[in-house]
């Protein structure tokens, strides 16, 4: 023990120095390409290797399950029950036909059996509905070596456990500190850079520098999350005087879009670190930040946005009309506010691949810090971004129809389910007007149209 002492401190020093050198090299290796916007393709290679490992892991688990004569739990994204897509009228006619022997004519009538339709529909929604499952993370079909996505843990063999342990070590002890260092660098560069640019007089130089400072810092943040992004149709990127509209899955959406384009952000003024970042950013170029009190006043919000959009020298606005984070399997109702302004809308579809790390922020379950920690300890964030051709409001359309048209285009491109439900259902109950529509349909069946009645 005594003999080791003098060598002890030497070894510790050597270790410390080599780790620091390694770390700095890595940082430089990653930050320099970010500054110039180039990529070495290392992340794509990383992704391919991981995919092979995941496939192997799932095979092992299936084998383990077969040995015990059980079946693996396989999640279904399209629902757990078999449904027939028939309308209210068809279903009730079917039920009546099967129940009575008398000939079915079209006179409106009521049967005791009509209740079965509503009863069964109600039970189906209790077993499985379209909305509730959109507010929790999507379930994966094969395991990605993260304990948080594991549903079949009792089938894990020793080899898999070792692999999983190795994964934990790599993610928490190597990737996490690296990512935190990168994030720290990115954010401080953003604050310092934009403040410095803010001192310059308004002009071409300021614009140029501001754009590049923003882009550079967002690119560093993208690498801080190991986000592997594929951009499609970049020729459709939003231009000045337009509004960029995208589906919302997490706060990371902003970083992903802003690292490929120069946008004016819209949002509420926050306190703390966010507030510092917001105040610094607005010095370099005009973003639209609202005070908490102003957010409630819809006319004020619309006025400021319209002013911004009409000034052609100002940047395109980035807005997420769903108003809340959805789990990236569907697109929910778009709020009509941004579609009433009358500017050209540039839709963007963002689709994450949850295999490497689920980016969905379940705000009722995790706070911001926990969420960021989960992001930074995932393997990677992989996503595809499609820039869709610009759309404008056509002749007879009102804002709601226009919003739905844009929403369908985004859903189609991203391969997401297009839902009419409001994302606000996460926290509130649904409005009664929808129930009235069902009641109207059914009344027609038992009473007929009002005109027929008054004639007879």
């Amino acid at each position: 023990m005594f003999l080791l002492l003098p060598f002890d401190s030497l070894i510790v020093n050597l270790l410390g120095i080599s780790l620091t050198v390694l770390f700095t090299l890595l940082l430089v290796f990653i930050i320099v390409p970010a500054v110039f916007g180039v990529s070495f393709g290392i992340r794509k290679l990383y992704m391919k290797t991981l995919l092979k490992i995941f496939a192997w892991a799932t095979l092992r688990m299936e084998r383990g399950a077969k040995e015990k004569n059980h079946q693996l739990y396989k999640p279904y994204t399209n629902g757990i029950i078999a449904k027939d897509p028939t309308s209210l009228e068809e279903e009730i006619k079917e039920i009546r036909r099967s129940g009575s022997s008398k000939a079915l004519d079209n006179t409106p009538d009521f049967e005791l059996s009509d209740i079965f339709y509503f009863c069964r529909k109600g039970m189906e929604t209790i077993m499985d509905d379209e909305v509730t499952k959109r507010f929790s993370a999507e379930e994966l079909e094969s395991w990605n070596l993260l304990s948080r996505t594991n549903y079949n843990f009792q089938y894990i063999s020793l080899r898999l456990t070792v692999l999983w342990g190795l994964g934990v070590l790599i993610r928490y002890c190597f990737l996490l500190p690296l990512r935190i260092a990168l994030a720290f660098t990115g954010i401080s560069l953003l604050v310092v850079g934009t403040t410095m640019v803010g001192y310059l007089p308004n002009g071409r130089l300021k614009e140029f520098l501001s754009k590049h400072v923003h882009l550079m810092c967002y690119r560093i943040c993208v690498r801080a999350l190991t986000a592997i992004i594929t951009y499609h149709d970049r020729k459709n990127r939003p231009r000045n005087g337009g509004i960029c509209v995208a589906n919302h899955t997490s706060p990371i959406d902003v970083i992903i879009l802003a690292s490929d384009g120069y946008y004016a952000m819209v949002g509420q003024v926050h306190g703390g670190l966010m507030g510092v970042i917001q105040r610094a950013m607005v010095k370099a170029c005009p973003h639209v930040w609202f005070e908490r009190s102003e957010v409630k006043d819809r006319h004020l919000v619309a006025k400021r946005l319209t002013e911004h959009v009409q000034d052609k020298s100002k940047l395109p606005i980035l807005i997420f009309p769903e108003g809340t984070c959805i789990n990236n399997t569907s697109v929910m109702m778009f709020k009509k506010g941004s579609f009433e302004i009358g500017a050209t809308v540039y839709p963007v579809a963002i689709k994450y691949d949850p295999q490497f790390g689920d980016a969905f922020w379940n705000s009722s379950k995790y706070g911001m810090v926990t969420y960021l920690l989960r992001m930074m300890t995932s393997w990677a964030i992989v996503c595809s971004v499609w820039y869709l051709p610009p759309m404008t409001r056509e002749g007879e359309e009102d804002a709601v129809q226009f919003a739905n048209r844009v929403k369908s285009a985004i859903a189609r491109q991203g391969g997401l389910v297009d839902l009419l439900w409001d994302g606000g259902l996460k926290r509130e109950k649904v409005k009664d007007t929808f129930k009235e529509e069902q009641q109207k349909l059914y009344s027609k069946m038992i009473v007929g149209n009002q005109e027929d009645r008054s004639r007879s």
Partner: protein, 196 residues
């Protein structure tokens, strides 16, 4: 490892639930996940509010009545066995149920009679075993909202009770209800199949 385990041992009393309801282990695991998804605050039971938050159920005209069926005798909570017991009424009828059945054991929850009983209790609010004209009116009103006048509804209710009522007591008992629906393919119309 993992907060959402599929292991059947996580479900309390899984064997007795299986025997009582007839659901397969795989179906029970899926229903348990659904129960957990609806139980937003992880209380371990569901309250009325949890079910009322399902958007598609709230727009169903009979939504409230259906929710009531989960809370018999004025209880305010439903645990997983209670939840599955109600859903078991909608399990599709397969032949092995009828073949292996021991006649001394109670009828399975998804028998034709039990499915009819479930539908009957949606009409029979005061659980007195009869659907009175007043109860019929109430259900009709729920299903049509404000779209139909009171006179029209009353005439429909009168006619329906008259047609089904055999012993002339002005109300529809369960047996009369079952008789008027004897030709209906209840097994198919009141069944929901869970994917394997």
């Amino acid at each position: 490892m993992g907060s959402r385990s599929s292991h059947a041992a996580r479900i309390p009393d899984v064997d007795s639930i299986r025997r009582e309801t007839g659901f397969s282990q795989a179906s029970l695991i899926r229903l348990y996940h659904r129960f957990q998804a609806l139980d937003r605050n992880e209380k371990g039971y569901l309250s009325r509010v949890d079910l009322q938050q399902i958007g598609a159920l709230a727009v169903n005209p009979l939504g409230d009545r259906i929710i009531d069926s989960f809370f018999p005798d004025g209880s305010l909570r439903v645990d997983f066995p209670g939840f599955v017991r109600v859903l078991a009424h909608f399990r599709p009828v397969d032949d092995e149920d009828n073949g292996n059945r021991d006649p001394k054991e109670p009828e399975p929850l998804n028998s034709r009679m039990n499915k009819l009983r479930f539908a009957f209790q949606l009409y029979d609010l005061d659980r007195d075993g009869k659907i009175s004209r007043h109860e019929m009116l109430q259900v009709l009103r729920l299903m049509v909202g404000v779209q139909v006048t009171e006179e029209q509804l009353e005439s429909i209710a009168d006619r329906t009770v008259q047609e089904a009522d055999e012993d002339g007591d002005g109300a529809v008992s369960f047996l009369e209800f079952a008789k008027s629906l004897e030709k209906m393919n209840i097994e198919q119309k009141m069944s929901i199949r869970i994917l394997k």
